[in-house]
Amino acid sequence: MTAYIIRRLLWMLPLMIGVSVVCFALLKSAPGDPITAIRAQGRASGSTLQASDAEALREQLGLNDPVYVQYFDWLGLAIRGDFGYSTRQNAPVFDIIKSRLPNTAKLALVSLVLTLAIALPLGILSAVKQYSRLDYFLTFFNFVGISIPQFWLGLMLVYFFAVNLGWFPTTGMRSADIEPGAWNSFKDTVQHYVLPVTSITIVGIAGYMRYQRASMLEVIHQDYIRTARAKGLAERVVIFKHAWRNALIPIITLLGYVFVILVEGSVVVENIFSWPGMGQLAVTSLQQRDYPVMMGIVLLSATLILLGTLLSDIIYAVVDPRVRYD
């Protein structure tokens, strides 16, 4: 097992380099650069970045060097843990990501806990009462939940609950004008969380519930469940002690990816609600052609995906004694 983990970790290095090459090439092949992004915006706002200034800035940023030179410059620093400076914000990429990461993680964590707390019981219920009216209803909800585009759901929530009813703020993580006091501050925070969390949760519930229902159904029809029932165990014990524990295995392995969700966040939801997290950062840096920040985000995501897969493989082995990596 230890040898397996070490082997997997070592494999990550060439994989990461591969990912960085591909991403760097993709980013560079997109038309424009940070300076054209500034100029295009300037054209809209009437600012006066002139040709000679643009050229000087390109030179300053090293954008006139051949692409491979730019890549190796970046790689040389990245290997030493220096991901450079954002071309737009003039701040270290590390600091920028560090300031956005907690916001995304908080939103994702709240949504995830809520999603699991609702989806798992409903999934079990749906499986245990297969083909009942409740099952049909939940299955229908599933399909709706999976099919709804998240941006549409988000916008609808904003229009109904923020614009028309005025119950919640339309955007942001907190108000600019909170009355002093811990309670006010808490209330304000909760109000800001409601709509984004709801839009993530509704879509999330649909996915997890379907997963839970399927795995539960599979387990329920196993011989050992029939045996448990035959022994005369209470239905509650059969479902929760015998069936659910086994039905959780595929769900638990999914949790390995939680890292990725926590870090990447939901690009769509963060943009609709102007939530200052990683998803929004990714979109704006892409629009601004902020290469160092984009590369930082890509590398972080790649690392976490690789670690997440490894983690879920390990969890799998731990919870399911039949699985062995030798």
């Binding site: 600012s47 200034d53 004008d177």
Partner: protein, 633 residues
């Protein structure tokens, strides 16, 4: 509201026999109220006396019409020599209250339309909530490349600044004067101005700001603002409140260039090890009417009124700028009352028209959308072909279709009703009539015979088939291309629309060996002047042919070169107006391009906000007007 613009509208309406609809549309763009519009329509009945602009401007000659505004509040010292004789005093209602006096009633109707104006005592006017959709660059230092424009106007001051009428107003420089040769500019700085931390503002701050921009290590896009023909101007501190700048050659747009440089504090930044990353950039200290008090990355920036502002304390407590991902998000926040105003592109505008809760302030983009010709193309270099194309375009239909009735037809060099409006020669530039038969006749006479496939052939046997290129991102431009394709097919000219990324197009512009067939016609905004200075040297002068500048349509004319040179080297505002009017005439003869229409953008302001001025150029007004606004509690 500036009366001279109304007068000109009436005059033109009579001269050109405009339809009521055109008059109405222009009047709306000018931001006239309903009674005023009826008055204009009545005046357009044909009474020549009314059409004389002098009756409306109180003695201003039509040529200096739009510059008629005192650049300094009455109590202040004399304005620059250059401007002194062009400033017939206007009623105080049009004067920006630079001395902090409360605006008099009647400064255009406010959002509520009540005409109100009981201005609350300082510091009780509520908080103005606004949004910005450009993303959060985290940079509030006005000289650093991706700084946030709003901060530049609210927290900092420039030496001088153009107002919403295109007139230069003093800020940190109380007055300025060119010497007789137009080489040395002497600036007299305002005394008694303090930075937000209480330190005094002096000439050292100005010198430091200019030095930092010149410094090679500074990440700034303003270096060329201090250059004339690639050479730096020089600057010198004469005493604590006097600075001189010396230009290698006479250069009128220097004032425009200075208008876009926010002055930063020497006493804080002179000890900075790296100005590009200094913490100051996120906690800026300026001399402006707002102090920046809180900056939540990607969320909002909070400003508080500066009670010690040299121009008088704002009428409100402060402002919050929310950072939104796009205009849809902003629109929801506006509807919910979370913000009070936002910029609205045309597609968002309909939902705020005829809405009691909001006022839509429209303005034209400062330069027209144009169809420009590649003059290095063998066929398009023939003036008769260019003229025929211009005649075959039904501008009114095109404008109404693509802008859904919001745009106004353009016939001149600069945007009609925009900040450069005064440089257009409306008297002598006669709009080209839409005349398909005439266009066909002109092409026939010039030897372009109609081919069997309905496309004409030149005397050399070339088909009159051109590509028309534009950059992506504006659906409107794509629609323009298709409509023009249709219109020009009526005179036997075949167009092939092509859309490329802006960056790609930029690459083609810079390539001096680019085949003219690749960009025979362009649909965009060439030549694109600066927002407030009419100089078109970078785009129409032969010195600016690729790869040197942006004369990428290869237009060459000695007389135009001469006029551009004169315009750049003359600092007298009135003389400049005359020069650029001549340029407008010459342009109309040679057709480097065909101005098509003026695009209309706007700001939506909630009626909660009071004391919002009606102005034809809200785009600039919004950047400093916020100081005078207040909200009823």
């Amino acid at each position: 509201m500036s009366d001279d613009r109304v007068a000109r509208l009436i005059e033109e309406a009579n001269q050109r026999r405009w339809s009521r609809r055109t008059v109405l549309k222009r009047a709306t763009i000018l931001g006239l109220s309903a009674p005023a519009i009826s008055a204009v329509l009545a005046a357009c009945g044909g009474d020549d006396d009314v059409a004389d602009p002098t009756t409306a401007t109180g003695g201003a000659s039509p040529t200096s019409a739009t510059s008629a505004e005192t650049p300094v509040a009455e109590s202040e010292a004399s304005p620059t020599e250059a401007e002194a004789d062009t400033t017939p005093t206007e009623p105080s209602e049009a004067t920006e209250p630079t001395d902090g006096q409360t605006p008099t009633s009647g400064t255009g109707s406010t959002g509520s339309g009540t005409g109100v104006e009981t201005v609350p005592a300082d510091g009780s006017g509520g908080t103005i909530n606004i949004n910005t959709t450009g993303g959060d660059s985290g940079i509030g230092n006005p000289i650093i490349t991706s700084n946030i424009a709003l901060i530049e106007f609210w927290v900092f001051n420039r030496l001088m600044v153009y107002d919403d009428e295109g007139t230069l107003q003093p800020e940190l420089a109380e007055s300025w004067e060119f010497d007789d040769e137009n080489l040395v500019l002497t600036l007299t700085l305002r005394q008694g101005v303090t930075w937000h931390d209480g330190e005094d503002f002096t000439a050292d701050d100005v010198i430091f700001t200019l030095d930092m921009i010149q410094n090679e290590d500074t990440d700034t896009g303003k270096r060329s603002n201090l250059q004339v023909s690639g050479e730096f101007i020089t600057w010198e501190k004469v005493d604590e409140f006097t600075v001189t700048m010396t230009s290698p050659e006479p250069f009128a747009p220097l004032l425009f260039n200075l208008n876009s440089i926010g002055i930063i504090p020497e006493h804080i930044l002179s000890s900075s090890s790296d100005i590009n990353t200094d913490p100051f950039n996120k906690a800026p200290i300026g001399t402006g009417f707002y102090k920046l008090v809180e900056w939540q990355s990607d969320q909002f920036i909070r400003f508080e009124a500066n009670p010690d502002y040299w121009g008088g304390a704002p009428n409100n407590d402060g402002a919050v700028a929310f950072i939104h991902a796009d205009t849809e998000v902003g629109s929801a926040a506006l509807d919910a009352g979370d913000i009070d105003l936002m910029f609205t592109p045309p597609e968002i505008q309909p939902r705020y028209e005829d809405n009691d809760d909001f006022v839509l302030h429209n303005y034209v983009y400062f330069t027209p959308i144009t169809l420009s010709f590649n003059h290095s193309h063998p066929i398009l270099s023939d003036i008769n072909v260019r003229m025929a194309i211009a005649m075959a375009i039904d501008k009114q239909t095109l404008t109404d279709t693509v802008t859904k009735g919001r745009g106004i037809v353009a016939n001149n060099q600069y945007a009609d009703t925009g900040p450069l409006d005064r440089y257009n020669d409306y008297n002598n530039v006669v709009p080209i009539e839409f005349d398909v038969d005439g266009a066909n006749a002109l092409l026939d006479e010039s030897g372009y015979t109609m081919g069997d496939d309905g496309v004409r052939v030149s005397p050399d046997g070339e088909r009159l088939a051109f590509n028309i290129i534009t950059y992506s991102g504006f659906e409107e431009y794509v629609n323009d291309q298709v409509i023009l394709q249709e219109m020009l097919s009526d005179i036997g000219i075949e167009l092939t629309p092509q859309v490329v990324e802006y960056a790609t197009l930029e690459g083609m512009w810079a390539d001096e060996n680019d085949d003219p067939a690749n960009r025979a016609l362009e649909l965009e905004e060439w030549p694109h002047p600066f927002e407030f200075d009419p100089d078109v040297y970078p785009e129409l002068h032969t010195d600016s042919l690729p790869p040197n500048g942006f004369n990428y349509m290869w237009f060459e004319d000695d007389e135009v070169d001469d006029l551009i040179n004169q315009g750049r080297t003359t600092t007298d505002p009135d003389e400049r107006v005359e020069i650029y009017k001549q340029l407008d005439q010459r342009r109309a003869e040679l057709l480097p391009n065909v101005p098509l229409y003026n695009a209309v953008d706007g700001w939506v302001v909630s009626t909660r906000v009071q004391n919002v001025k009606d102005t034809p150029y809200f785009r600039r007004y919004v950047s400093y007007g916020v100081k005078d606004w207040f909200k009823e509690s």
